[in-house]
């Protein structure tokens, strides 16, 4: 998680001409141009981009700290949306019968908070009962083995959900039942605006946590050098538990927040999963800061594709873009040096 873009060593002009900055520049330019002409694209990009940043940030963190490429990450999006739906629906009914401003404003939050907690709890259970035994047995081929292990977990969670709760769509039209805001003559759905704000606050808290708290620093230490971290007295098991819990909690929060766009059903996590993976591959595996920036680029690509080409092409164009990027920068846009400790 060391800053890959070290300002001291590279002259400013070269830095700005680098492939990474050209890409970011183009993305910003496109966002501005499109945003002026089609404001709704801008709003969608920001709302989804913020949530993909939570998804991708957690995915990158788990890869950086634990060397686990989590294929079940989308299932936490699913768990979050299900938990939030379960909590929010009775609140919504209550609201219909007894309208109250306080409940209108605060109603969605219990579901979101509970979703994050449930997701985190499932993450911790996963670490304690699945990854820890595997770690104790063998670390050979750890990255590929855990990738397969999480593929198994994903299958169990998706189909377990289907067995327990059926294949229905559980969705809501909106969290905050209020008319859209008028910002500079553009109408913005309140849900989208608030979801973006929730994402920003969470990203800020997440980054403060990683930078300034003892635990956050310990996490970064483990991601840089596991043995060294252990030598200075960091309890690895505790860090792993917290990391996976945090990452899964963030994914569940994303699922809960986007419930109005993605109704809950067993395989709702598939698209967020591969979008988060697009981001992480684009940004460089294990690079959390890069993932946050990359999330907005991918959200922009996704929204542009949906608006101008068609919903179905969402899978095709970002892939083409990522292959293109990787031709020039095999290690991702931000060229993260965070390498799997257990890889040769």
């Amino acid at each position: 998680m060391t800053s890959a873009l070290n300002p001291q060593t590279v002259p400013l002009a070269r830095r700005l001409l680098s492939f990474t900055w050209i890409t970011i520049g183009i993305a910003v330019l496109v966002t501005v141009v499109v945003g002026i002409n089609y404001p709704s694209i801008l709003v969608s990009t920001l709302a989804t981009g913020g949530m993909w940043a939570l998804m991708a940030g957690g995915l990158a963190l788990v890869f950086g700290v634990m060397n686990i490429p989590n294929f079940a990450h989308g299932e936490f999006f699913m768990i979050g949306s299900l938990a939030s739906f379960t909590v929010f629906t009775p609140i919504q009914n209550e609201l219909l019968e007894h309208p109250s401003t306080l409940l209108l404003v605060l109603g969605p939050f219990p579901g979101m908070i509970l979703a994050a907690l449930v997701g985190a709890a499932v993450g911790v259970v996963m670490e304690v009962f699945l990854f820890r035994p595997l770690r104790r047995r063998s670390r050979d081929q750890w990255v590929m083995n855990t990738f397969l292990l999480t593929a198994g977990i994903s299958v169990v969670l998706v189909n377990g959900n289907q067995l327990l709760f059926g294949n229905d769509f559980r969705g809501i039209t909106r969290y905050w039942d209020v008319p859209p805001l008028q910002v500079l003559g553009v109408s913005v759905a309140v849900d989208r605006a608030l979801v973006f704000i929730i994402a920003l606050i969470t990203i800020a808290l997440f980054s403060v946590f990683l930078r300034s708290t003892r635990t956050g620093r310990a996490m970064r230490a483990v991601s840089q050098d596991e043995t060294g971290a252990q030598m200075v007295g960091i309890d690895l098991n505790r860090i792993f538990m917290l990391t996976l819990g945090l990452s899964c909690g963030l994914a569940s929060l994303a699922g809960a927040s986007l419930l109005f766009m993605f109704p809950s059903y067993p395989s709702v996590g598939v698209q967020p999963l591969y979008l988060a993976w697009y981001v992480v591959i684009l940004a460089g595996l294990g690079n959390v800061q890069g993932a946050v920036v990359g999330a907005f680029i991918v959200a922009l690509l996704q929204t542009l594709t949906v608006y101008f080409i068609g919903v179905g092409w969402v899978d095709v164009l970002p892939t083409a873009f990522i292959i293109f990027i990787l031709l020039f920068k095999p290690s991702g846009l931000f060229g993260s040096e965070v390498k799997g400790v257990w890889e040769q």
Binding site: R137, G152, V156, V158, Q162, L285, G312, D315, T319, L326
Partner: protein, 334 residues
């Protein structure tokens, strides 16, 4: 004394490596003739199981040897199926030729994907293959003028009759050819290079192996066989939808390959038959609970990954080693 010699003769017979192979092939040859497998529905389960077995073998060729998991495997299968299916449906090409064109198409895509991604770390290659698979599925779903998208493409069948038995022998032949060809490759110097790279890329490089070249050869071969099997799928079911390329299909194959035992080729083939039939029966028993077979696959995969990394093949190898050591060792326990 004669009893003892017959015991040792028996033991020598069992220890001969050719015996289980011949027994396995013979069993597969006669299985659909023995009740209850001679019933049409059971023969169909057998066809599906052998199809899964063949896919697991082709999958294990990359996953088990070069340690690159092709997460887009189902898309390569689907590409082979669609290529052959479209050629047969639109140009009247015989399925028997079309499946090889499909194999070629999938092999070409494997070559491209491999050449682009296999220079990178294994996890990148796995994820990029997944993306390529997703993109391919997106194209098939949206290019409805050609593929008819989610409506499904009607494809001519191999045979005029709807009897499952001829299909069984076709897919069995495909399984045996896949096993034979890939096992021969593994035995050649290529196989040695694959293993060396799969275990330690740096060491392989240090001993003069160009990893990328071998990785690409491996990936291309596996993809081509995936495409060939996709051709069978197309001309057996007679209808293709983009769903053949779903990631969950890859995970099913992956689960069987790993439960069977990575790096064995035959492990997946051996376990796929009972597992495939068992799963079909389970599905029918619990038809009101869709997805229960996938939960089972998932749990088995998780358990195997954590506690029995060598899978069923590892278990059978241990049994084999015990037989070889002779009777006294058999009583010692572990």
């Amino acid at each position: 004394m004669p009893a003892r010699t017959s015991v040792s003769a028996m033991r020598a017979f069992l220890a001969d490596r050719r015996v289980p192979v011949v027994a396995f092939v013979l069993l597969l040859l006669v299985l659909p003739l023995i009740p209850p497998f001679n019933r049409q529905d059971f023969t169909r389960y057998l066809v599906v199981a052998v199809f899964m077995a063949a896919q697991a073998v082709a999958f294990d060729f990359t996953a088990g040897y070069i340690n690159v998991v092709n997460f887009g495997f189902a898309a390569f299968v689907g590409l082979g199926g669609y290529t052959s299916g479209l050629l047969a449906a639109n140009y009247g090409l015989s399925p028997w030729i079309g499946i090889f064109v499909g194999a070629l198409a999938a092999g070409l895509l494997g070559l491209l994907t491999g050449a682009l991604t296999l220079r990178l770390r294994g996890i990148y290659a796995a994820v990029m293959a997944w993306f390529v698979g997703l993109a391919l599925m997106g194209i098939v779903r949206n290019w409805a003028d050609v593929t008819r998208g989610s409506l499904g493409l009607n494809v001519p069948l191999f045979f005029a009759s709807s009897d499952n038995l001829p299909y069984y022998y076709v897919i069995l032949a495909m399984l045996l050819v896949t096993l034979l060809v890939l096992a021969l490759v593994i035995r050649s110097h290529l196989g040695l290079a694959f293993r060396a790279i799969g275990q330690n890329v740096q060491a392989a490089r240090a001993s003069g192996i160009n990893p990328t070249r071998y990785l690409v050869i491996n990936f291309t071969l596996s993809s081509a066989f995936a495409g060939l099997l996709g051709g069978f799928y197309a001309h057996y079911y007679g209808i293709l939808t983009p769903d053949v390329m779903l990631t969950s299909r890859t995970v099913e194959v992956l689960a069987i390959a790993y439960i069977g035992g990575r790096g064995s080729l035959w492990g997946g083939a051996v376990i796929a038959i009972p597992l495939g039939i068992g799963v079909e029966l389970l599905r029918i028993q619990f038809s009101d609970l869709p997805g229960i077979h996938l939960v089972l696959y998932g749990i088995l995969l998780i358990l195997v990954m954590i506690y029995r990394p060598a899978g069923v093949a590892g278990f059978l190898r241990g049994l084999d080693a015990r037989l070889r050591r002779g009777g006294s060792a058999a009583h010692e326990g572990e």
